[in-house]
């Protein structure tokens, strides 16, 4: 195994890890505040990717530029979903809430299948093939932009949670729900905002990957399952942990592909998942409450 191959694995692992981190951040935030595991997260990403595709195909809007549309749009869609579907079932048993989001995911995927059929689509802007070489490692420009965009987005969100009143309310709700309510925080609204932010995050991630990916009704699954691993790795509800966890999973995957034969890279990722659950059930960086 040469050093070149390892360097390449590290570079491509980190680039994808950023996107994993952003997808997982949204999931982690929603879990921290609403205490539900949102299986529909990947389906929302898929819808955002279709939105990006149609904006590019019909209106010629650059995928990255379209973020200014998809981000806010899916923030609102997320809030609506929370209000209409999630909130009425807030006191339902945990497994019912799980089934609810799973059902929502199936509904959205099949809706996409009806609306746009099962065939794959791709967006290919002029810079899709751009790349450069660092040392002996290839850096694909769209993947670099996706990773950079994901980090910027995650940092902005982090600052939002630290510095603004709404952000502080979200954190309060995540750390001490009853206390937050007693302090006069409109917890219903904050829950909707948190879910909206989760959907907005994954929508931005969807737009960022579209130039180097493809769009199909089940495309969200590729990222959704990985995002669960990342969230557990980083600590359920731990926002920064999710971003770091994303990089770790990205690295594990690509080093696994380099060092092991065949499809074993998935094994590395899920092996890591099981190990963390066994030995660090609160995640590598601790859960949301002691963040």
């Amino acid at each position: 195994m040469t050093a070149d191959l390892l360097l390449q694995a590290v570079v491509s692992g980190l680039l994808l890890g950023g996107v994993y981190g952003l997808v997982a951040s949204g999931l982690s935030l929603v879990f921290g505040v609403l205490r539900i595991i949102n299986f529909a997260h990947g389906a929302v990403m898929m819808l955002a990717m279709y939105t990006t595709y149609w904006l590019f195909t019909l209106a010629g809007i650059d995928p990255y530029l379209s973020i200014v549309v998809t981000g806010p749009l899916f923030f609102l869609i997320g809030m609506a979903i929370q209000r209409v579907v999630i909130e009425p079932n807030r006191f339902a048993a945990e497994h019912n809430q799980l089934l609810l989001t799973l059902g929502l995911a199936l509904f959205l995927e099949n809706l996409a299948l009806v609306l746009w059929q099962g065939d794959f689509r791709s967006v290919r802007p002029s810079y899709a093939g751009a790349s450069f070489v660092v040392g002996e490692a290839l850096v694909e420009v769209p993947r670099l932009i996706a990773c950079g965009g994901a980090i910027v987005m995650a940092l902005a969100l982090f600052a939002f949670l630290r510095l603004t009143d709404v952000g502080k309310a979200i954190r309060a709700l995540s750390e001490e729900p009853e206390g937050a309510m007693l302090m006069g925080i409109d917890v219903g609204r904050i829950r909707a905002v948190a879910f909206g932010i989760g959907a907005g995050c994954v929508a931005v991630a969807g737009a960022l990957v579209t130039p180097f990916f493809y769009v199909a009704p089940d495309v969200g699954e590729s990222f959704n399952i990985i995002a669960f691993v990342v969230v557990v790795l980083g600590g359920m509800g731990n926002f920064v942990g999710a971003l770091l966890g994303g990089f770790i999973v990205g690295l594990a995957e690509s080093l696994g592909a380099t060092l092991l034969p065949g499809s074993l890279k998935q094994l590395v990722v899920f092996g890591l998942f099981v190990l963390v659950l066994l030995f660090r059930p609160a995640g590598l960086f601790g859960g949301g409450r002691d963040r």
Partner: protein
């Protein structure tokens, strides 16, 4: 006067009314049952097959039906599998109860594997459509027939076509790397490419199965690049195949060509239209029609006129299956399932639109001359570049762009 000419003139005499009582006594209809996943995730592809069936049936009926049966018309009886095994079985049984002479379908190999037993038990000829798994004709079944190449023919003949092309271009292919999706389809193809390495005289230097859900193949392709293959073979579906071609281009993978093996993307007109610069000069070994055949051109024109879209390889297969059926019915002179089965097994049909010699079946029901075409994307269109006698253009090989 040979036998066929005799039958023809006998049929003509019969049609002219020399023996009108017999003609009237015969069936005026041949029931043809099809089972396809016309609803569910494969609905789009199934419709392409169904269009091909309809086009062929209408063509035969408007030209006077089955002459040996006094001009009997073909009637298509529908069955929907939704791509589910249990529905495939029950729909097949229902159609057989309705008195079909032949069953056509069912698209997926998994459904076909089960339905073939239903057909066999009821002694009903079962003409496979789209299903590629090698094992569908195994087990000594008498009623299963397959016109298109199976997985083994597809992979070995495609590899052979590439090797021949390499020799002709004085750039021999000695080292082959393969990536395939890790499901049934990709693994079958991978097994064949590996098994035939020794026999066909190339070394398989890397074989990498991958999960369809993986969003990045940079590490895998870097490994392949380091093993310095002459050829990269890819058996996959749409999304994964796209990412692989894209990453290979950026890595300057350094092979003489990228070739798909029954690839769902590399000769798919939609994929090519969406990714013009990426797809240029990609190869793919796949089902296709014979571009040299004047009849194929006519069929394409008729299809275009009727369905307002281009005939696809699924439609070509379906159209051909009905052609084989018609030929067998004319020779059987009966709608009886056993007589039809015997006539099918003696098929020797040269008048077809496939890139192969006459359609003939071996004892297991496989078309012994079934051949995939070797396609290459040129000027935004997949064109046949091999086997040489069916080619409509010269291959570009080696492909400079993969060397960067």
């Amino acid at each position: 006067m040979n036998r066929r000419a005799f039958l023809k003139s006998a049929g003509a005499v019969a049609a002219l009314g020399a023996v009108p009582s017999i003609v009237r006594a015969q069936a005026k209809e041949v029931k043809v049952g099809y089972i396809l996943p016309v609803t569910g995730p494969l609905a789009f592809e199934a419709q392409l097959s169904l269009n091909g069936l309809q086009l062929a049936v209408d063509e035969i009926n408007s030209a006077g039906g089955i002459k040996a049966l006094g001009g009997a018309k073909l009637t298509l009886l529908p069955g929907d599998t939704q791509n589910k095994v249990e529905l495939g079985n029950s729909e097949a049984a229902r159609l057989i109860d309705q008195g079909i002479s032949v069953l056509i379908g069912p698209f997926s190999s998994l459904v076909a594997y089960s339905v073939r037993q239903v057909a066999e038990k009821n002694k009903t000829p079962f003409m496979l459509l789209a299903a590629v798994a090698d094992n569908l004709t195994e087990g000594g079944l008498r009623y299963v027939f397959r016109v298109q190449p199976n997985g083994k023919a597809m992979s070995t003949l495609t590899m052979n076509n590439m090797l021949e092309m390499g020799k002709a271009a004085s750039t021999p292919i000695k080292r082959v790397a393969m990536m395939h999706e890790d499901g049934n389809f990709g693994t079958t193809m991978g097994n064949h490419v590996e098994a035939f390495a020794g026999k066909l005289g190339y070394a398989l230097v890397q074989r990498i199965p991958y999960s369809l859900k993986s969003p990045d193949f940079t590490a895998e392709l870097s490994k392949i690049k380091a093993s310095k293959p002459d050829l990269l073979v890819i058996s996959g579906y749409y999304g994964d195949s796209k990412i692989i071609a894209e990453t290979a281009a950026k890595l300057r993978i350094g092979v003489h060509a990228l070739v798909g093996l029954a690839n769902a993307a590399y000769s798919n007109p939609k994929f090519i239209a969406d990714n013009r610069d990426l797809t240029d000069q990609l190869f793919d070994g796949n089902y296709w029609h014979n571009p040299q055949s004047p009849r194929a051109k006519a069929v394409f024109a008729a299809y275009e006129k009727r369905f307002n879209s281009t005939l696809t390889s699924h439609g070509v297969q379906a159209y051909t299956v009905i052609g084989v059926l018609k030929d067998a019915l004319e020779r059987a002179g009966s709608t009886d399932r056993d007589k039809l089965r015997d006539a099918l097994s003696k098929t020797n049909l040269a008048d077809h639109i496939l890139p192969q010699d006459a359609i003939k079946f071996d004892d297991t029901g496989e078309n012994i001359n079934a051949t995939p075409a070797l396609l290459q994307v040129q000027n935004g269109r997949p064109v046949v570049v091999g086997p040489a006698r069916f080619a409509e253009a010269k291959p570009v090989f080696p492909v400079p762009k993969w060397h960067g």
